[in-house]
């Protein structure tokens, strides 16, 4: 195993195609170098560890993270909100996730996502109608980015007139997850901090308003609380809203953009999708395997020494679970590097697994299915202008920063 493979994975020059690095990594299924993290790259190991109750998601259980380039800086945690359920263990995790799920999914709200289908379709149609010059489309800025933000506004109940302000904060926070190494760090931190404050104050105001005049949006329902769990505190609610906001759009942007890029590289599949929109359902699953928007989970640590493939991982160690590598593990999938929407055996790690499996999965799936099948139907003879396209800085939430597409026209 060559040294420095982790810095290669984080190195921007490998962003467009990290998969050969993952292949190299799988030769040492439990990779550990110096004081760096323990890196797990095989499908079955990741799958097991995601269900292992000895593995914590809480930062306080980490011993030291000096060697982990993806560890969060401390002041970021101190300045911001309490940790969201993404970074909590049971029972706090279970309680917050359960309360958040109540207005979102089954058993209490089984029709929420399906009920949003027409709304979602309307947003997709509107965005495609306004793409402008078909010869010069940036699918990220003009489509994949505005789509989930608009969606999350509707879901949370952000009033239409506030959407422009909300968009600015959301964009700023999203950009902070994807820092440009050349920019002035201090200035960037200040902008991010201000945006977080303003968004937090805005949401707090909105929550107060919803407590008095509840609607059928998620914020109202979360603020009201139900059943044995009582309601969330305002701080918990803010953390949860911020989680929904960030997770809900960082990932969907990449899922849609990676999807369109993959389709443009596989024109036969694009054509089949245009003719059979129902193909979108299995195709999005294959996409979640082939190009998962969350490439790896860097936030796990064992509560005791655990053994994986004969390697002892000491208590408190930092661990990375490379989902994208597991998804291309030839010991799990036949022809793993082939994009095949007709694949029958498709139990991927793209949405994680276990108690932290993607909360927004049903919405993300529907958004991607609708977006990709509509783009396939309406864009006439689309071509990539640049392959590979420029990628975003972020190695964890990986996707193109721009996706320049040219096409002959836009079908009605």
């Amino acid at each position: 195993m060559k040294q420095g493979i982790l810095s290669d994975i984080l190195d921007y020059s490998n962003r467009a195609n990290p998969y050969p690095l993952y292949e190299e990594l799988r030769k040492t299924p439990v990779f550990h170098d110096g004081d760096g993290p323990y890196v797990i790259s095989k499908y079955h190991d990741i799958q097991s560890l995601l269900h292992d109750p000895r593995l914590s998601s809480e930062a306080r259980n980490l011993a030291a993270t000096a060697g982990d380039p993806l560890a969060e800086s401390e002041d970021e945690g101190a300045a911001a909100l309490p940790p969201s359920f993404l970074k909590l263990d049971p029972p706090e995790h279970d309680r917050l996730r359960r309360m958040t799920n109540r207005p979102f999914g089954p058993p209490h709200s089984p029709h929420r996502i399906e009920g949003m289908r027409d709304d979602l379709k309307g947003i997709v149609t509107g965005l495609i109608d306004n793409l402008g010059d078909p010869a010069r489309i940036d699918l990220v800025d003009q489509f994949a980015y505005p789509f989930p933000v608009t969606m999350i506004c509707r879901l949370l109940g952000v009033p239409r007139e506030d959407e422009p302000r909300f968009h600015v904060w959301a964009d700023t926070l999203a950009a902070s997850l994807d820092p440009d190494p050349d920019a002035d760090a201090k200035e960037r931190d200040k902008i991010t901090h201000d945006a977080r404050m303003e968004l937090g104050m805005y949401l707090a105001g909105l929550i107060e308003e919803r407590r008095k005049n509840p609607g059928d949006d998620m914020l109202s329902q979360l603020a009201a609380g139900h059943g044995q769990d009582e309601s969330m505190s305002t701080m918990e609610l803010l953390s949860t809203a911020a989680l929904l906001l960030i997770a809900g759009h960082e990932t969907t942007v990449n899922l849609i953009t990676n999807g369109m890029l993959t389709l443009l590289r596989n024109p036969d599949v694009l054509k089949q999708l245009r003719e059979t929109p129902g193909l979108a359902v299995p195709m999005v699953e294959e996409l979640l395997r082939f190009e998962p928007p969350v490439q790896l989970l860097p936030q796990r640590t064992p509560l005791v020494d655990i053994e994986v493939r004969g390697v002892t991982i000491p208590k408190g160690s930092s661990m990375w679970l490379i989902l994208a590598s597991g998804n291309r593990d030839p010991d799990r999938f036949e022809n793993p590097d082939r994009f095949d929407p007709y694949r029958k055996d498709i139990q991927h790690l793209g949405l994680g697994s276990g108690i932290h499996s993607c909360f927004g999965a049903p919405l993300a799936r529907l958004e991607a299915q609708l977006a990709l099948s509509e783009l396939a139907r309406r864009l006439e003879n689309p071509r990539l202008v640049e392959d590979p396209p420029p990628y975003r800085q972020n190695a964890v939430l990986r996707g193109p920063r721009h996706l320049q597409v040219t096409c002959d026209g836009i079908r009605p």
């Binding site: 799958q47 097991s48 269900h51 292992d52 109750p53 000895r54 593995l55 914590s56 998601s57 809480e58 263990d89 049971p90 029972p91 279970d94 058993p107 509560l303 005791v304 655990i306 276990g354 108690i355 499996s357």
Partner: protein, 463 residues
Amino acid sequence: MADAALDRLKADGRIVVVGASLAGLRGAETLRDKGFKGSLTMIGDEPYEPYDRPPLSKQALLGKGAAERTALPRRREIDAQWRLGVAASGLDMAARRVKLADGDEVPYDRLLIATGVRARPWPNPAEAELDGVFVLRTRDDGAALARRLDAGPRRVLVIGAGFTGSEIASACRERGLEVTVAERGDAPLVGALGGVVGAVAAEMQRENGVDLRTGVMVTGLEGDTTGRVRAAHFSDGTSLECDVVVVSLGAQRNTEWLTGSGLGAGPRGIACDAGCRAFDIRGIVTDDIFVAGDVARSPHPLFGYQFLSLEHWGNAVSQAETAAHNMLSESTERRPHIWVPAFWSTQFGVNIKSVGVPSMGTEIMIAQGSRAERRFTGVYGYQGRVIGAVTFDNSRWLQFYEQQIEATAPFPPPFPTVDRRPEGQKPLPADFPDPSVPTHGPTITLSGYSPADRRMTFTPAGH
């Protein structure tokens, strides 16, 4: 190296599947998947094509789905001759023929038996005949019971608080019907999960308005002059007015049709090897008769090679696939069926899942969550190893404990979990009832002797 006989079997052999339910169908599909091109006959005593049973005690009773519409999805075309509505009545092993109740006989080269189980009937036949007395196993049972619940009975009595009985009680409460549950053991689910977990199930029932009576037997059912059930009498001297009675006392294996055939079949099922090949009564393995699903009992290495009979959906699928594979394979390519038992139930809004054989456990430890919240993982221990696990609304962790069972990991688990609360610190007696006391019965039956047991002396005749 291909065996010519095997090639002939695949090309134009005759395979008969007795039992047209989940295991029978999945077995047939697997045979075709594996390239069997010969004639395939499916024999079933019910007039229906294969259907799914779990919805019958859940959605169908709630009126959320008709019992008539639970046909099993087909994975592929199987191109079979269907002999439905006629039971198999006998087997001639020497002549390789299955006898049917209508007098017909069907010859085979390979036979797959998947006749499953049926509901144990109420022991008093006259009382069982009363209008309003039901069992729940088949599609017709489900439809009839759902119709009667639609009519709004004043009180339903469920006899037996196993999984099916508890699901029926749950459906009744969800419909707003008054329901009494009578259980001979000390708590619901006690035969399958023990007293510690049974106590949680009892609380769930009572909180949801079930009139739960434990440690009590129903001694008789009483009808009115028109032959409708009107009351039940209990061993504690009390009686109860009720207009629907659901007898939920577990299952009996459908093996009577094999009596006298020479196959190793009896009330506990049909004994087979790990490759699903049936034993004859001399303990010699057959090579042309295979068994799968609820009716099979096979030795399992994880559980001391004891013979396990499993009334589990997933086991039926997996065992049928293994049996079908082995039917068409050379001896060296055959594979064992060593499925880890797994089971689920939904009742009173709680998702219950188990893996392994909890009923072998002598101790239990609540490893995660809390019983008070009805969200927990209970781990069962047997002789210092993990033998089973159960979750109440906590199923996302279950895979880990399944691996612990497979790895014969030590019990009690020596590590902390992300969710260790005070009650999870130490093991408790699992509190299973004395096996000699009849209860509704678990869905897993251990029916062999461990090699460690020395309870039999064998003296061959003539020595």
